[in-house]
Amino acid sequence: MGCVKFGENWEQSAADMIIDATYEAYDDAGIEPREIQAAWIGTCQAGVRGTQLAVPLKLEYIPISRLENACATGTDAFRNACYGIAAGVYDIALVVGVEKTKDTGYSGLETTYSRHISQGTWLDPEVFVGMPAQFALAATRYFYRYGLSYQEGKTVLAKVSVKSHHNGTLSPKAHLRREITVEQVVSAPIIAWPLGLFDCCGVSDGAAVAILTNPELAKRFREDYVLVKGLGVACGASQAELQDDYDFTHFEETVVAAGLAYAEAGVKHPRKEIDLASVHDCFSITELINYEDLGFSPRGRAREDVDAGTFALDGELPVNTDGGLKCFGHPVGASGIRMIYEIYKQLQGKAEARQIKNATIGLTHNLGGLPGRFTCAVTVLGR
């Protein structure tokens, strides 16, 4: 696998990042570019065709597909490549996730509404409900449902961000690499009430790459290959805006996608069996709700696990060991594969200062879109 340093990469184009991440992966796998039989590129904004990969990498006359699926873009491209291998159609496939967000001129994400959705009237909630607002709606309801005062809610969310920022300091490829305090998070300017600046992930450029093969061939490349054990994707159908029993304190897409991936991987007790996870932390509240939806914490009780340090680097189930979206930022197409990169390195014991002990099963999770219209992708990886 390969992954560039995420950040405001003013000097690098999307093509530059694709080349750097892919050549790191070639080196890591010990293969030649001409051995790639098929490729997938996951991106929301950096091009709309497979040629976006062929041109910079000079992949000549092979099948390449471009895939976009909101924040799950990278992971879904990865999933499709896995199926190409699993079906026996290809022996070796390349998956690239890439995004160049910093050329848009906006400090937040330009958001999907301005480019992608052929909305016609531009009156859809995806147009007027900005991304921080989408998840702030969940935060407001979560606080209300579980009886958290504003201060209590803000504090538990702050602890999530503080944990991620600590892990980010140990991640050389992360964008944001400094410690923050609970007090800083709670008193930061509000972006979408109740979420403040430090409840929101960064906005960065980045690219990450995986090379896939089947388990038999993998042994010929290396001993410490990592297995894909389970894949799940689930999409919402506007339940949040149509059905008045949609609760905004859990996201069913995650529950279903995780269920699919757990079933494939044979995971019955996620909290016990999963050693580490990279979960979608576009906002602190998202990560908190993910703990419950992924089966790590009982409903309404993620707060107790946050207070107990369960998800810290030295905790029972470390989450976002590399600093997550919080510190890497969220170059949308790249994020899912960046998460897989972290699990891959951890399972190989190559995570350096942030290495956790005895990691054998890891999980990645992406969630993108609007509540009720999320696309969720969950991947279980193992040694």
Partner: protein
Amino acid sequence: MAIGIASYGAYVPWHRLGPGTKGWSFTTEKAIANFDEDSITMAVAAGCNCLDGWSREKIEALYFASTTPPYREKSNSTLISAALDLPSETLGVDFSSSIRAGTIALQTAVNAVKGGTRQVLVTAADMRVPQPGSELEPAIGDGAAALIIANDNVVAELEDSCTLSHEMLDVWRAEGDVHMRSWEDRFVVEEGFLKVLPQTVIKLLDRNKLNPKDITKVALYAPDPRRHNEIVRKLGFDPKNQVQDPLLNGVGNTGTACALITFIAALEKAKPGDRILLANYGDGADAFLFRVTEEIVKRRNHREVRSYVESKKILSEYETYAVWRGLINKAPPTRRPPFRTPSPSALHREENKNLRFQGTKCKQCGYPQFPPQRICSRCHAKDDFEAYRFSDRRATVFTYTMDRLAPTLDPPLVVCVIDFEGGGRMFSIMTDRDIDRLEIGMCVEMTFRRFYTSEGIHNYFWKCMPVRA
């Protein structure tokens, strides 16, 4: 056959400029439309108020009177007609140019009903922008009125009316002008308002062999409070008992809507048998004599002018108003992509959804849904729905946020999820709200607003707002 007013309802926006506003140098208070309001949205608000509990089937025409119609070419009345969910056979007519257009529309509606039209919904709204600091600024306010003219079950029967045309330049606005211009006050008042309006009123009274004391209430237009006092005195009405307060201080001179709002306020207090005189001025004058009927007691379920006047928010800074009216081109709080131009073909296709605010109610499971669906979100039945209007339904807030990143002229953007009484929910933007008084479970009502304008296309849609008291 008694022709007259069958239903009535006014609208006054929530915001005010007044002595509590920093940068407001006048002693008067006046109502101003929010940044997302215009004459169309205010006419819709008054229309909704007037149509509350009223069957729409018999309405055959929708008149819209305004000197500030948002579209110069393209009908404004058809848009209002759609937002009010009137039948597509409704004849839409735009009356414009004169601030007397409201009563001109009323007179035309009476003539139409005499000619066989069953019911006409007359709306009048204005949102004029006086030049900052000008003599007109303290007096000009924003508001709307709506009346249904019919030939049965009228609450006030029209006994007689008369009109007088008078060509003069007193207050005017030419093509391309943002603000009104006016001539010397002495000329404007003495040769215009104080001359022409009394002539018309006296003619009407004389013709009906009535004295001023025979009138229960007069609803008189005047450009400002001082001139109102003068006209009352000149006509010999008792200011204490006979005169309906035209709200010139409090709401302001609302142009085409002004005299009609005053008339509606008089109807709201009227008793059967009362005689109400309505008189309006602008490029001439109109005067109407109404006799209140027994029906008045049945038609009192709408929102009164008084409650609109009492429910208000004083803007803390004049600058906010200046930004809303485009008098100051203030940068947005954050750099965000520009709004995209809506597609007219998509707007046309989605008229029922965006303007009529119709969702669908599943005939199989009965669940109402917005936006309209073809496959039921609950039971998955296909193409088995009936249209279901959400605009007159109240809702409660399920969750909300205040987005400080969103581009809006009234930050923060309050985004919420609301649950309608009777079922159904939607993501909605909340307007006319106090951000310190937001809470889960609060009750909201729906209001038709202009989301934004791009390439001359006003993109209208429904927002929610806390229920006006």
